[in-house]
């Protein structure tokens, strides 16, 4: 599945959240990650995040799509190719 993750977290924990998300997704913009992932891994990622964030203060949004094609991504301005697999 294809997932877009955005987060708004207290500054104290923002780095912890970012480091966890980096393992599972590709960084797109400040506070935004995206990428293809399996259900199991997504669940694992959520658990990891849950142990870090403060429930009544922080929020992490997951936009989950069954297939990547469903997500019609349009870009204005610079496209930064962070998810290419050829480095």
């Amino acid at each position: 599945m294809f997932v877009i993750v955005t987060y708004d977290v207290n500054e104290k924990r923002v780095n912890k959240v970012r480091k966890i998300l980096k393992k599972y997704f590709t960084w797109v913009q400040n506070s935004v990650f995206e990428g293809e992932i399996t259900y199991g891994k997504l669940e694992k990622c959520k658990r990891e995040l849950f142990s870090v964030i403060e429930k009544d203060e922080d929020s992490v949004y997951f936009y989950e799509m069954e297939y990547k094609i469903v997500c019609n991504k349009k870009i204005l301005g610079q496209e930064k190719n962070y998810d290419s697999v050829i480095l």
Partner: protein, 326 residues
């Protein structure tokens, strides 16, 4: 689903923030380590044990290639799926001459089938197609040893390669297949593609219980993971050759993508990127599997081939090699 990463530039792989980073002089990129299955390294890359330990935790395989794009070796983390039973039975199939020839024949049969499949659509190659068919039909029933089989395969392959001149652009004229080192562009392409397939197959074998060093067509004493050479036979014409035809006939790769030196020739960085990209697309292309009734990628078919071998070894189902039906 799991991604394959290709590193063609120079830089450093390092563990940082509990994930993997690839740093070059100009940029720094984090890698989503959870989704990586294997990394092919073509550039000059530094890495330390800290990174290797972390990589092995995730069961990621690193494949290294030398300056000329030849396979140098792999870093394979501790194998997690082992089964002594399968290995013993696999070895038994090697020891029994009849059983060994059967498997070796299967690999060659499938390879020849795919070679003929490649030529079938091309009018210019019809004569060669008939020549291959003659050679193969005459030879296939009087094989009594592995070396005879190898000889037959070599003759078929010679005809196959000589047909390339009929439909590939003139710049890529091939006198004969040359390895170590390839001396002209087309040989360089074939060698590069084959070494990529070889390591991809190795990755798939790693995820099954098979032992990559016990092989049937190739002698297992060649100091290499020769089972992946065996299985690659099936996929070399099916995947690599069709990618080469496509790239050359669409002029995506031209002579300017090669560096030629005194007596050898190899793809430059730009050319490698184009080739890898196309090969990756091919490996991810899916075809509906008739028995499984779902879409399976070319890479998936490599894994299925391994499973079929296991089934054969444990006496569950007789091995029948892949013959592309699409």
């Amino acid at each position: 689903m799991q991604k394959t990463l290709y590193i063609t530039s120079n830089g450093r792989l390092r563990r940082k923030d509990n994930t993997l980073y690839f740093e070059t002089e100009t940029e720094k990129r984090s890698i989503d380590i959870e989704n990586i299955e294997q990394i092919h390294i073509f550039g000059e890359v530094d890495l330390n044990t800290k990174a290797l330990n972390y990589i092995s935790q995730y069961g990621i395989i690193l494949h290294f290639y030398n300056y000329y794009g030849f396979y140098a070796g792999s870093f394979v983390p501790r194998k997690k799926s082992v089964s002594g039973d399968v290995v013993v039975r696999q070895a038994l199939h090697y020891l029994d001459k009849e059983k060994r020839i059967f498997l070796a024949y299967c690999f060659v049969e499938s390879a020849v089938y795919h070679m003929m499949r490649n030529l079938r659509e091309r009018k210019e190659a019809e004569a060669f197609l008939n020549a291959i068919e003659d050679e193969w039909e005459n030879g296939r029933f009087n094989i009594s040893s592995i070396s005879e089989l190898m000889g037959l395969e070599g003759r078929v392959r010679n005809i196959y390669y000589s047909s390339f001149n009929q439909f590939l652009p003139e710049d890529f004229y091939m006198e004969k297949r040359e390895k170590r080192p390839p001396t002209n562009p087309i040989n360089a392409l074939i060698s590069f593609g084959n070494s990529l397939i070889y390591s991809t197959v190795l990755t798939e074998i790693y995820h099954t219980q098979l032992d990559p060093s016990i092989s049937f067509l190739h002698e297992p004493s060649e100091k290499r993971f020769s089972l992946s050479l065996d299985i690659s036979e099936i996929f070399k014409p099916l995947i690599v050759d069709s990618v080469i035809f496509k790239l050359l006939n669409n002029r995506q790769i031209t002579l300017e993508h090669f560096d030629e030196d005194l007596n050898y020739c190899y793809l430059n960085q730009e050319g490698r990127k184009i080739f890898i990209n196309e090969l990756r697309n091919k490996l991810e292309t899916t075809v509906r599997h008739r028995q499984l009734n779902r879409n399976v990628s070319y890479k998936g078919y490599i894994r299925l081939e391994c499973y079929k071998l296991i089934k054969h070894f444990i006496g569950d189902q007789v091995y029948s090699p892949l013959k592309a039906w699409w």
